[in-house]
């Protein structure tokens, strides 16, 4: 059993980020898109933790703690907004909202 190296973590993080990215681009459902962004988030957070451990520097992990708590707050807010948007148009399709077009 080989040692789990830094790059393993980084690969997992990159895969998570890639999944999130593809999901965000392909999905039209607001909730799914939101979840995709969360997955990208976690990919990045994983990188931070890995590097923190690798450099034996705790600040990376503390960043992640902040990041998670902000993500949680953001999730609460975003889901609330999604509910609000759903009430307006009775759909979760992101393309239903294009008022901001130039």
């Amino acid at each position: 059993m080989t040692q789990i190296e830094l790059y393993h973590y980084l690969v997992v993080g990159a895969i998570l980020f890639g999944i999130g990215m593809v999901g965000f681009m392909t999905r039209r459902n607001l909730i799914m898109m939101f979840l995709s962004t969360e997955i990208m988030f976690q990919g990045v957070a994983l990188n931070l933790v890995a590097f923190s451990r690798f450099h034996m520097n705790p600040s990376g992990q503390s960043f992640v703690v902040f990041l998670l708590s902000i993500a949680a707050a953001e999730a609460a807010l975003a889901l609330g907004l999604v509910v609000l948007l759903f009430r307006k148009r009775e759909t979760l399709n992101a393309d239903a909202w294009s008022e901001m077009q130039g």
């Binding site: 681009m25 077009q101 130039g102």
Partner: protein, 695 residues
């Protein structure tokens, strides 16, 4: 008195200024009494001016008075003191300005009685005298410029006095702007003087010029300075090509015309050139002589065919001013100034007499509409006759002596231009005598025939349209409203049938000044012949000799250093000009008194010429098309350019970002997915770019 005048000469302009301010502030309550402070102030100035004149004359004052009252403004080495410089020339000017001014004020008190703007009128008149006295008293060019523009302002206000008349407003504007063109020249002259000599004061500047040792730049500047000053003088003294404002200035009330034409304003140009004679080189003097001679001729021809009483005198003023410039141009400075002096007397007399006629005839000025006026206005007829004799140059009246000197100097001049215009001047003398007596015989002689509203009132220009109501006629505002010219005290009740029985000379306020002016018009010329301290010249040459450097010898010797040839003797000249005047008068008597029909026949045969002269050589029309209209059109074009081109270009600059915005607009569709793709594409590009750079 002389001592007081020496110690406080600045009171001369100050008194009229104070009067002007006082009347301006309290005039509303002074009403008819507004003339009193103005006349009192004038009397004060007269006393001081005469004091100065006597001081110079009897030798109490030995050298010119010069003192700085305070420093007006200064920047760098450009220093302008509010200072006076009084020599014989100034004292002479001050005297006739204030004396004749006072007489005009008194006349105006009668003439303008009951007018709507009575007090306003006297405030302006006082302002006028203030500006004129400052003009001649300043010790430097900038103070002169103050007076110069000041008379411009006062004339603007006075010519436009009957402001409800559009023609009066236009004339006022024309006067101011034409004068401004002259002022422009004067200003450039001042700049040149300062830039090259570092001073604007007469004594310092002339001192440097006289002293010699000039740099090349200074010599070059001296070549130009006279021409600049000349432009200023031509504007103010209404010489061709800037003469157009003066005839129009007749729109003002008659005392104003008298003041502008006789004592003030137009004589300023002569003053300027006389004052600056030390810097006028021969070439510049030739130009002065040519312009003067040409104007004399042109204006005399114009005067031949006018029918408006005041306009005839206006053109004669132009013509006489032309004589003065001719005199200056051929170097007879003292003679030029002498002509200013005599002209002031008889022209004031003529204008005021014309005003008196106009006043009596209910505002009528057309000489075709009146005849035999001597019957109803004996005093005015007498004063007008004296004035006409003086203008025509009949010995021994005032005009004869001074004109004679100028013509003699011109004919004896070394320059061709002087000789040519001397001969023209002799011809002009004939024309002068003719048109002068044409007017006199037309108006005062012959059968009695008066315009219908003689003895009535001129319709007030100040009557408001709504108050005029229905009757648009001349009598519409008969005495029921303060807003009209109440005219004179002869009452309203004359029936026009017995016109000959009317006595229309007006109040003593009007005819007493006329009689006093008669004395001057008759006698002022004698000062040029008698009273000299020996030699040929009269008192005036003797008096002015310290200024112009002549030795008090009289006309021929007063000619500036330029040598002259003896073509005609003094006595011969006198005989020549005297006989020419008589010939002119006889011609006029034949055509306009004995046989008026003959004049009509001649006129009918020369119709195009008459029209040409009547329309003042069409110079006004030419200016209108060439200058006024074209500038006006240019203004409109520029206005359109401003709105569409200049603003348009600026708008186009603003349009650039807007265009960019429109171009990029399609990329912002509001679709979340698209934004995500864009974001990631951008991110990828950045990552690839960084990788590429790091490689």
């Amino acid at each position: 008195m002389i001592e007081f005048a020496i110690s406080k000469p600045w009171l001369i302009p100050l008194l009229p200024l104070v009067a002007a301010c006082f009347i301006g502030v309290f005039g509303k309550w002074l009403k008819g009494g507004a003339a009193v402070p103005a006349i009192l102030a004038m009397l004060g100035s007269v006393a001081l001016s005469v004091g100065l004149l006597c001081g110079f004359s009897n030798g109490t004052i030995e050298r010119p008075l010069q003192e700085t009252v305070y420093e007006w403004f200064a920047a760098g080495s450009f220093k302008v003191p509010a200072a006076y410089y009084i020599d014989q020339l100034t004292a002479l000017y001050l005297t006739f300005v204030t004396v004749i001014g006072t007489l005009i004020f008194v006349f105006a008190a009668g003439y303008m009685k009951g007018d709507y703007g009575f007090w306003r009128f006297f405030a302006y008149l006082s302002l006028f005298v203030f500006a004129m006295t400052v003009l001649v008293m300043g010790n430097n060019f900038v103070v002169l410029y103050l007076g110069w523009e000041g008379v411009g302002l006062a004339s603007y206000l006075l010519i436009g006095y009957y402001y409800p008349r559009p023609s009066a407003v236009a004339a006022a504007k024309k006067a101011f702007i034409t004068n401004r063109i002259g002022d422009f020249g004067l200003a450039i002259g001042i700049f040149l003087i300062y830039a090259n000599f570092g001073t604007v004061e007469y004594t310092k500047f002339f001192g440097m010029v006289a002293h010699g040792h000039l740099t090349a730049g200074q010599i070059a500047a001296l070549g130009w300075i006279p021409y600049c000053l000349m432009l200023g003088a031509f504007g103010k003294s209404a010489q061709f090509p800037l003469h157009v404002w003066l005839p129009d200035a007749m729109e003002g009330p008659t005392p104003v015309s008298a003041l502008i034409h006789a004592a003030t304003m137009v004589t300023a140009g002569v003053y300027l050139i006389a004052r600056c004679m030390p810097v006028f080189h021969a070439d510049a003097l030739i130009v002065v002589a040519c312009v003067g001679g040409f104007t004399a001729f042109m204006a005399a021809t114009m005067a031949l065919c006018q029918y408006d009483l005041k306009k005839i005198w206006a053109y004669s003023t132009l013509s006489q001013l032309g004589y003065m410039f001719l005199g200056l141009g051929v170097g007879a400075t003292a003679s030029g100034v002498f002509h200013v002096f005599t002209h002031a007397w008889f022209k004031a007399l003529l204008f005021l007499s014309a005003g008196s006629v106009m006043h009596a005839m209910g505002g009528e000025l057309d000489i075709r509409k009146m005849s035999g006026v001597r019957k109803v206005m004996p005093i005015t007829c007498f004063t007008m006759l004296i004035g006409c004799l003086a203008l025509a140059g009949v010995p021994p009246f005032a005009g004869f002596w001074s004109k004679d000197e100028i013509l003699a100097a011109a004919l004896n001049s070394e320059t061709t231009a002087g000789l040519v215009f001397g001969i023209v001047g002799v011809g002009v003398a004939l024309l002068t005598a003719y048109y002068t007596f044409r007017l006199f015989f037309r108006v005062f002689m012959g059968p009695v025939s008066l315009p219908p509203n003689a003895g009535g009132h001129e319709a007030s220009p100040f009557a408001l349209a709504e108050e005029q109501g229905h009757g648009q006629g001349d009598h519409a505002v008969h005495g029921h409203d303060a807003g009209h010219v109440a005219g004179h005290d002869a009452g309203h009740g004359h029936s026009h049938g017995d016109a000959t029985k009317m006595k229309l000379d007006g109040s003593p306020l009007m005819w007493v000044p006329l009689l006093i002016l008669c004395v001057g018009a008759a006698g002022a010329g004698l000062l040029g012949y008698f009273g000299g301290a020996g030699g040929q010249g009269g008192w005036i040459h003797h008096f002015l000799a310290p200024v112009f450097g002549g030795g008090g010898h009289g006309a021929e010797v007063a000619v500036k250093a330029t040598a002259h040839v003896e073509r005609i003797s003094h006595g011969g000249m006198m005989i020549l000009s005297g006989s020419i005047a008589v010939v002119g008068i006889l011609l006029a008597a034949y055509f306009h008194w004995m046989n008026r029909h003959a004049a009509d026949i001649v006129g009918a045969n020369l119709k195009p010429l008459v029209a040409f002269l009547y329309n003042k050589w069409y110079i006004d029309e030419i200016y209108k098309v060439l200058i006024t209209k074209s500038l006006w059109v240019l203004g409109h074009i520029l206005s359109i350019v401003d709105r569409y081109v200049v603003d348009g270009v600026v708008f186009m600059v603003g349009f650039g970002p807007q265009l960019a915005g429109y171009t990029l607009k399609p990329t912002q569709r509001g679709l979340l997915g698209r934004y995500a793709v864009g974001m990631i594409a951008g991110l990828t590009a950045v990552v690839l770019g960084v990788l590429y750079l790091m490689k």
